[in-house]
Symmetry: C2
Subunit: 276 residues, 2 copies
């Protein structure tokens, strides 16, 4: 694990925006609460107003400012005014959409450099759906859902590189993506796979501890002992993959990426909810 | 593993019935080919003619006889003529439908005893979908699909007991059942979970070797090192489950239930198909 200094909040998409907003308010709190200055990057989305809903939410949740960094061309991504929004931010949020739009539009630009620099300086970076996948050095670029590992399920491409050694998939149980995540890890079992359910977040600390919050769980794929025949045969045939270790981590439990093990088991969060 | 003497052919449902019929013809061959006498148990289905299609197929595939053992009440299950069809069979086939219908109708009857006896004597027993799930001592009784382990996903009940120590789920990737299989295993990690895709079969030998044939793969859940909090909390909350070992086994590969490891990796089947 070589993660930069700041925490990453990888959200599995479809996070609650209208009720208790547990994940988004946790992000605002991590970004400084009443003094938070949040930069919103809606580039993954092709919808012109994708960022506007988040501006409203982050302000309602008490952030001091929430500004959209509107980048629709690679030229925009060198705009000094936009770069300064990032440099001045205490929290960065990437919306959902298509992660290739983010990497194709931002990769190698001053905006991407400024984001990585802020992350190194300790600023929390959050992303939902595509915005979560694009955080890692190698990301899922696309591919089909469905549970049986096949090569055609997984296409990978370079992400923003805010964290090495993980690969992040989202809408995980909702879109039945176990097979494609395990297939991606089988290409290089040095990677740890994180499959994040909707309305669920993996908060990845600089120390490699993952805290899970939200309604679903995070499936973690550890391929350290894995063997497979992914290197032979045809794209549409199922592959055999043995000795994959998986962990399902729910709210209140933590996972240590270095030790590759669950270190904390939920206690209070359960008791608290049961009492409600 | 305490399996009876004969092989079990657990099919994940929706096996090919009209083209190469690879799985069904393998079963006929194991039952004796041209001298096969096949007993068809359509009890899982509430459709009156569920067995008739299989009669035609098994005859087309060269079986000497294929007879329906029509049981619609527990009284039928003591019918001497029907018991004799089982006792005289060289292969037994259970259709899909609802596995509770099979266990509720046959459990503790002379038909169930005759089936277990034939299996002990070496006769292959095949089942598709519900007919596969009902083979084990403890079976999946129902529950919701979806990838995140939650207690409400899994309900279990007693099966026919042709094999101990496994629990069989079917239509596996098609219905996104990883979460419920892992949850079932977490209740008692002494069980090994088998999740079988459609048009795919796990052929379980008396020696505990599983051979996989068909279009998809078999997901095997080994909970020996598992830890979970399934024993605490609420039914609808996700559970945390760590250190689950899984294996995806595709056609041409074999898995050893005793050693809990893939022992054979596909070679010829791949090369043969690639050449087609």
């Amino acid at each position: 694990l070589r993660q930069r200094q700041g925490p990453l909040i990888a959200i599995g998409g479809a996070e609650d925006k209208f009720r208790d907003r547990a994940i988004l308010s946790r992000f605002v709190e991590m970004a400084g609460g009443a003094s938070a200055r949040i930069a919103i990057i809606p580039t993954a989305s092709s919808l012109p107003d994708a960022g506007q809903l988040y501006v409203s939410i982050f302000k309602e949740l008490g952030a001091a400012t929430a500004e959209i960094v509107a980048i629709d061309t690679r030229h925009d991504a060198a705009d000094q005014r936009l770069v300064e929004i990032i440099e001045d931010s205490t929290g960065i949020f990437m919306t959902g959409g298509n992660q290739i739009r983010i990497s194709a539009m931002l990769g190698g630009t001053r905006i991407a450099e400024a984001m990585a620099a802020r992350s190194r300086e300790g600023v929390p970076v959050a992303g939902t759906s595509a915005g979560a996948s694009v955080m890692s050095s190698v990301m899922i670029a696309g591919g089909r859902s469905g549970g049986t590992p096949k090569r055609q399920l997984a296409r990978m491409s370079p992400g923003l590189g805010l964290i090495d050694s993980v690969i992040i998939d989202q809408h995980f149980r909702e879109r039945n993506r176990v097979g494609r995540l395990v297939t991606m890890v089988s290409y290089n079992p040095g990677l740890i796979g994180l499959g994040i359910d909707e309305d669920t977040a993996a908060i990845i600390g600089a120390d490699g501890m993952i805290e899970v919050i939200g309604r679903g769980s995070v499936l973690i794929v550890d391929g350290a002992s894995m063997a497979s025949d992914v290197h032979s045969g045809l794209d549409r045939q199922p592959v055999t993959i043995s000795d994959v270790k998986i962990h399902f981590v729910a709210e209140g439990s933590c996972f240590d990426l270095e030790q590759r093990t669950v270190t904390t088991w939920r206690k209070e969060s359960r008791a608290r909810r049961a009492a409600q």
